[in-house]
């Protein structure tokens, strides 16, 4: 299978996982989104040397991964590039901040090392929490929750359409690269000479398909807003989920470990 097919298949799998019947999937999207946003705010709020305090916040991720039966292996596989990048964010810190803040077995741990590690952990936590939300909530439900929080409709519509069109775009790329590969045996990738025409054709074809999708939406009364509905309204259990996690996370933040 080509890398493009893999990418399309991964997107479909994410959709499927979000639609599964599970404990975490069953929670109303609004409390899930609120807890995720609150978690992200708390992650950002930690100081650059407060690594020990920040690590305790990881309890949320561990518990949610276990209760939701979410595979950490899959997270690492799917987010490897993003995780790799966030881990490298603070790579220069040890060179600028060389003041020793801790001696561990005769080895001086500098402020730069701690801040680099803190930055990496913050990044990993943020990506993991976002992944947890995506893998347990369909994009329509996330958009519904965003609209419930009065996020402007233009932003929500763009988010939803980008997610839908990305598959249309990838399918066009796949069709074109397959057609190319079949007529260029033994070649690895696309020859530099065809990059220009390939990009141009891709743009035209994608626009054409996007126009059909848009026409289809217009034919069905689309007027600039997706009227998203959740399968059910929020119940007491959903509010308890939000309240429980918010309290627990706040306590972890206030009580300094």
């Amino acid at each position: 299978m080509s890398r493009i097919s893999d990418a399309i298949s991964e997107l479909h799998k994410l959709d499927m996982e979000a639609g599964k019947r599970g404990w975490l999937q069953g929670i109303h999207p609004l409390p899930k989104l609120l807890v995720t946003l609150f978690f992200l705010v708390l992650v950002v709020s930690y100081g650059k040397y407060d690594l020990s305090g920040l690590l305790v916040l990881g309890i949320y991720l561990i518990i949610t991964f276990v209760l939701g039966d979410i595979s950490v292996k899959l997270l690492l596989k799917r987010m490897r590039i993003v995780l790799g990048l966030v881990c490298l964010m603070g790579i220069a810190n040890p060179f600028f901040d060389r003041e020793a803040v801790l001696i561990l077995g005769g080895f001086a741990v500098t402020g730069g090392m701690v801040s680099a590690a803190t930055l990496a952990v913050k990044g990993v936590f943020a990506v993991s929490a976002s992944y947890l939300l995506i893998v347990t909530t369909s994009v329509e439900d996330i958009c519904y929750a965003l609209r419930a929080l009065h996020v402007p409709k233009i932003f929500v519509t763009v988010l939803l359409l980008v997610y839908r069109y990305i598959i249309v775009f990838l399918k066009e790329v796949e069709r074109m690269t397959d057609a190319y590969a079949l007529r260029a045996p033994g070649q690895k990738g696309l020859n530099q000479k065809v990059w220009g025409t390939f990009a141009g054709q891709l743009l035209l074809r994608s626009m054409d398909r996007a126009q059909t999708v848009y026409d289809s939406m217009m034919m069905r009364g689309y007027n600039g807003e997706f009227y998203l509905r959740c399968k059910r309204s929020a119940e007491r259990g959903d509010y308890l989920y939000a309240a429980g996690w918010s309290t627990a996370l706040l306590l972890i933040r206030i009580i300094h470990f």
Binding site: D15, S138, R209, T212, V213, D215, M218, M219, R220, N223
Partner: protein
């Protein structure tokens, strides 16, 4: 008096600048009336203007010359929303027509846009899915449907608004014989007017009682299905051939 769902008078259309003196009309002086329960086949060779015609009826292309009335409403910008509630357009490519993640969400898309309550939306979506025998697949992810199921889901999306006139662009394309037969059966079960643009003359024969033959942007023939589809001379004159079942000598 028979109520016409579609009335077209002196319709002409060309792409590009209307002042261009060298432009050629894609459609030229079309006059058609379709009653509320008719099933009409629109046939013609490639480039005859079938898809342009369908897009004009739905307002996806701007009407420049002539008059179109759908359920008594003149095709004008201010009437588009009401007209589109009366017309259901099933695109040739179901993949592009279906853009939500599940069958139910896609079928519910139009009723929601027309401001129905969630109970009404649910009732309309389930009824539409029932009409195409897809009620057990409502929670399926779109990409997991077969080609035939996608076509039926696309039909359900337009049925959910209660469209009185259904336009179908090459509905039998890429369907295997079983799905094709199933689609014919379902289309014949559906009430309301249908305008089916297709190259598949056997399909047209099985689903339509009237046929309009477009050629060079003009109506070359308009009449009973059997009368037109068995006229070898007429069909060949306009770049078509007898339906396969007739050319094999099937009495049908």
């Amino acid at each position: 008096m028979v109520m016409n769902i579609l009335e077209i008078e002196n319709l002409s259309f060309s792409y590009g600048n209307p002042r261009d003196m060298y432009k050629k009309n894609v459609l030229d002086d079309i006059n058609i009336r379709i009653s509320g329960s008719e099933s009409v086949g629109l046939i013609g060779e490639n480039g005859a203007g079938k898809s342009t015609f369908l897009k004009l009826l739905t307002g996806l292309l701007e009407l420049k010359d002539g008059e179109i009335r759908v359920a008594g409403l003149g095709l004008k910008k201010e009437n588009l929303k009401d007209i589109r509630a009366e017309i259901g357009y099933v695109f040739q490519d179901s993949d592009s027509q279906l853009f939500m993640s599940t069958v139910y969400d896609d079928v519910a898309f139009a009723p929601r846009n027309y401001g129905k309550s969630e109970e009404e939306v649910r009732a309309a979506a389930l009824l539409a899915l029932k009409k195409v025998h897809m009620e057990d697949k409502k929670d399926r992810q779109i990409y997991r449907l077969s080609g035939g199921e996608k076509k039926l889901a696309a039909i359900a999306t337009v049925l959910a608004v209660g469209a009185k006139l259904m336009l179908l662009d090459e509905p039998s394309v890429a369907l295997d014989p079983k799905n094709r037969r199933n689609l014919i059966r379902i289309l014949n079960e559906l009430p309301g007017a249908k305008l089916i643009a297709s190259h598949d003359l056997d399909f047209v024969y099985d689903t339509c009682e009237r046929v309009i033959l477009l050629s060079g942007g003009r109506i070359a023939a308009d009449g009973g299905t059997k009368e037109i589809l068995t006229d070898r001379e007429l069909l060949e004159k306009h770049g078509l051939e007898l339906p396969l079942s007739f050319s094999r000598g099937c009495p049908c």
